[in-house]
Symmetry: C2
Amino acid sequence: MDERLQWISQAARAARRAGWVLGQISGPERRQILLAMADALERPDVRASVLRANAADVAQAELARDRGEIAQALIDRLVLDERKLAGVVDGLRQLASQPDPLGRVSIDRELDDGLGLRRVACPLGVVAVVFEARPDAVVQIAGLAVRSGNAVVLKGGREAANSNAVLVEVLRRALADQGFDPGALVLLEDRADVDALLTLDRDIDLVVARGSSGFVRHVQQASKIPVLAHAEGICHQFLHASADPEMAARVAVDAKCGYPAACNAIETLLWMPGAELALDRCVTQLGQAGVEIRACEATRARHPTLVAAAQTDFGHEFGALVIAVRRVDNLVAALEHIEQHGSRHTESIIAQDETAAAEFLARVDAACVFHNASTRFADGYRFGLGAEVGVSTSKLHARGPVGAEGLITYRWLLRGTGQVAGDYGPGKRRFRHRDR
Amino acid sequence: MDERLQWISQAARAARRAGWVLGQISGPERRQILLAMADALERPDVRASVLRANAADVAQAELARDRGEIAQALIDRLVLDERKLAGVVDGLRQLASQPDPLGRVSIDRELDDGLGLRRVACPLGVVAVVFEARPDAVVQIAGLAVRSGNAVVLKGGREAANSNAVLVEVLRRALADQGFDPGALVLLEDRADVDALLTLDRDIDLVVARGSSGFVRHVQQASKIPVLAHAEGICHQFLHASADPEMAARVAVDAKCGYPAACNAIETLLWMPGAELALDRCVTQLGQAGVEIRACEATRARHPTLVAAAQTDFGHEFGALVIAVRRVDNLVAALEHIEQHGSRHTESIIAQDETAAAEFLARVDAACVFHNASTRFADGYRFGLGAEVGVSTSKLHARGPVGAEGLITYRWLLRGTGQVAGDYGPGKRRFRHRDR
């Protein structure tokens, strides 16, 4: 094992020990740490130094963008302004106010006299988070880790190096001020550390990957550790024949333009015969909002000035003010299009017809399925999870926006009085299996 | 895509459609299917044909064993006798009597006026199960699939080909008799099908792997689909100084000898100073039960006739009537030994001292942690889960014995009245986040 790998492994093990204490203290104590973190980030001097560090990162990134090395979308994610900072602080307080996820007993079952089984929630242990830009993720993740009693190893992108370093230092100091080992929060600096990290399956329990789809896919393929992530956010908004035109357009503009680089932004608008007026309003208002619309032939027959969509525009994540528009024959055809092109992230239907909406909600196989609401609501903060670890498009463990629960597992604790399994079975003692 | 792969992909897609219906019908209807399956397996003619098919498989396997091609442990798993058959039928009925896992609303939250979020349990879709021997797994898995509304693709080992074919036919007929598409239950026959199957990440949502650790590791490495499995079951029983000697021995014999090929059998016995009498009883009774005991030097100082253990005997899964015995200095040393050598499956402490037991239960990072009970209780049937998909040593999704819940995921359903995310945030509308 090379020296650097060994150092990371040791840091992860030390983090596990430090984090173990966070899992053992009481819920109110964990809450206190979160509030202390929020308070620290609101101190004017801290806020100023965070914003200063971020401004330096952004300036650097803008030069790189001008050289054509990075995309504007990355800079959008990198910027940490007063508004975003207020959002993450608010998220920490929301987290603090939530019920404690640890120690919950999801099963409490008497197997027999003096043989009691309990399934008890506990932290995963050590969670590694690798991300490209978005320094606000540092705070969210650290908050969720404290809430769930986990240690965390962070590896941010080079672009956010200054922002991340300042933020982690503030959070570590808040931990220490509360009397806890700041070693529960580790920041790795070196790019080469990511691939090393992904091999440490004995030291790290879960990897959360956030960033571009290329980056996430690389992590998923290189990791020996389970990865929680979404590689893509290819979300659709479907205009049913019964859609209210004004609502359809208002929701589409929010879903496309609110934050085009976000994974929960829509990439494709589907419409069916009968939804022409809704389509018209969408085209007008998206156009006014500066969105480039790439349309199928049927759509262009109605709106000839629109650019023709290529087949590859469907199922493509633009991450920018571009949208593909396609006519489908009916609800079933919309479901088929989504099945084929969606990434199982978030799908929405705009419809006044409750039966159609119910069918859409029942049939779409995605983490989030919405009726008459913007796909942009698919977010841990908006769902009331306090903050999100990330959004998972996997079906296992945690799906969709993942909050503290995604960092929790459980253990089965059995307390007996000397029972042996051989005494039970057909023709022998029978289990009682009575839930308490 | 080659022809065979295409065939499997089509069968999996057809299974998804057939299984979708199982997820949509009511809980009582799913219950009815399970009871019909149990009844079918109890019909004397069916039972006879199952046992006949299994006898043929076992006879074949015994020849292979005599040629040194397969291990006795595999034959132990292959045998399906009246007792095991009664066990799985009982398991189907237990499953039928359990609360329905589908449709459960784990979060019902008002985000704002007319904006309601629900997190609703739903089936994964299509589960593939690859296993080596154990034809009883066919019934367990099919039962759990019905209970959880999933389709299932089964690929059993060559050794159990006759048993599996008969069992699947019985279960498919039961499905059809109840008016459902038997295509929800697919049996693959060819060995080469496994690797093909593992590439179909669009068609299959979860792979459950059961078999030898070499087989499971192969599946884990080859699969593009998430795998639920345990590669190893390296379980320890620790004799604390306060252990009751008689209880210690009784539990150890059950945990080692009840079914040595099982993953929840113990492989190592740890003891600390003060537990000498418990050790003595264990050595005597394990010896009488025919167990080969491989002991550390400190243990041999007390029991000189025991074989000396090699370092590699610790952390080794014997899967047979062999056990390693080691003295550790104290509880902490036992925890360290388990941390280093255990497979996070099941660990137990025998102790009258409640404080020591509590510390063991709090500190051991394993799916199951037991006090004064045999590790053999770590089993879905014994835990009251009806049957088990398998035992998972992963910390994510489902941990330990996995029942129907392991085949369930959830979707976030949001119903709005035209809300957009841009209206909410600091300085704007605030979410209500009121749970109902």
